[in-house]
Point group: C2
């Protein structure tokens, strides 16, 4: 057992980690904790999912009754955004009073606002790892290694709560960091939500070509550049709408800034200002390595 | 020797293929032709490049004198766009009178317009293959396999000329197709040049964030989605400017259509029209596979 896993075990005092939901994120956390020897419990909605989770060995115990969580010292809500922003009474009742609660939702302001009223043991969290896979088959070992895991604690009454979630992140090989929920949401609007809309608009433009000869050529000639630039625009539409719904203000700010950047490029092309365009392109090329 | 290579040899009547330039495209063509046993000659500008090309075995003969091309039956101009749009007198003089001439430039209208006046044996061409590498070290074997190779012949006096270039493309495993230069340029504006500007504007927006806390978070949290969407925007600024310079009209058309797609998405987010946004996202997700 690693030093980080021993620290987590010590802070938990032997209590298990509970997971609500065993999709991509919940399943991946379960697999890693099991490999570390940290006891795990999971509450899922459907019996078929519980059965498959048992077959895959995602956690030590999984069932469709919330009682499975009762001895947990830390419970992670690995649920879709909608269920995190408007937690059901059943979910709130299921959370054991001694446990620290955290989540993995990709927008933090809306979740923090909902939970601040509800529970002082709640620490909003966001592990930045994933794939396009979803469901009980999606969880994979080692998904968080080297990835950021953001926490946006809000003056919790229990100051030890964020430390426990950080210990979990460290045990999974992630790199925990703390920031304000609003700062997180503006940053992910720029690097995650804006790219989706930028990419959707590109697909929309290319597929909206009215001339059938040019449309057919565009399909035939598209290569890796188009595939990469359009990848996130081809993702799950429901997830795309959720991020826009719950991060609307920051997404609109990002879109406004983007529109003005694009207009500047368009002006350079229209006015044949090639030195100006080259400066913009050189500036972008120089900026990119800072994001990798 | 493959059937396609035998056809090329027969059409060439044993004459070598000449390459002007041995960068990424020229070097890759040379390597493949050598492997097929088709004789090759190359004219390059600098002695250091000729020496390195000999060391790498890119072609059978390479030198800095244009006389090396004199026995060629087909000469491919593997030069930057600027040199193709405004060919130097030295280049025009170097082309042997019996040879069919083609090029590999990524915009065809401007090149066709220049060469139409100059040479009736000229067939504008564009192999859609490549990498970000450049120079004499960049050429690689098999780069054209399965990739489109567009020809945009304009009522050539020599009707056999496009057939010879097609035979070369087929011998390299590429898939030749013919279309109008204007149609090619509008299609590549949509699937190649527009993505560059879309991606540059994204980098510009994310790196232009004024709040230092959010800027630092954006750098830290960016992951594969941002990396993919911004990849082509981080490319060679000189190439980006060349495509905009030589395909300005089609690029501006693409930008106008893109701006309107983006405004539609922005309106949906601003008006919280989530069903409308979901329709747009679903539509883009359904369109993407046609481009892959």
């Amino acid at each position: 057992m690693s030093e980080a896993a021993r620290t987590l075990q010590r802070l938990l005092g032997g209590a298990p980690v509970g997971l609500v939901g065993l999709g991509l994120i919940g399943g991946s956390i379960g697999l890693d904790l099991k490999a570390l020897g940290v006891p795990t419990r999971a509450w899922v909605r459907r019996e078929a999912m519980a059965r498959r989770a048992r077959e895959r060995g995602l956690v030590d115990q999984v069932c469709c009754e919330p009682g499975v969580l009762k001895s947990c010292g830390l419970v992670l809500l690995c649920l879709p955004m909608d269920q995190l922003v408007s937690p059901s009474p059943a979910l709130l009742e299921a959370l054991p009073p001694q446990a620290v609660i955290s989540d993995v939702g990709s927008v933090k302001g809306a979740i923090a606002a909902a939970w601040r009223l509800l529970d002082h043991r709640f620490v909003p969290g966001h592990p930045l790892a994933g794939s396009t896979a979803a469901g009980v088959e999606a969880g994979q070992a080692g998904m968080f290694a080297g990835r950021p895991w953001v926490l946006t604690p809000y003056g919790n009454s229990d100051v030890a709560a964020p430390t426990l979630v950080e210990a979990l992140a460290l045990a999974l090989g992630a790199e925990p960091l703390r920031c304000e929920a609003a700062a997180h949401d503006r940053a992910v609007a720029l690097i995650s939500h804006l790219p989706v809309l930028v990419s959707v608009a590109l697909l929309h433009t290319a597929s909206g070509e009215q001339d059938p000869v040019i449309a057919a050529l565009a399909h035939r000639l598209a290569s890796s550049g188009f595939a990469d630039t359009s990848r996130v625009g081809g993702g799950n539409p429901v997830l795309g709408v959720q991020m826009a719904t719950h991060n609307r203000k920051a997404v609109l700010q990002g879109l406004a800034a983007y529109r003005s950047s694009l207009e500047q490029l368009e002006a350079a092309v229209r006015e044949a200002d090639w030195p100006g365009l080259q400066r913009e392109l050189a500036c972008s090329a120089a900026a990119r390595p800072h994001f990798l």
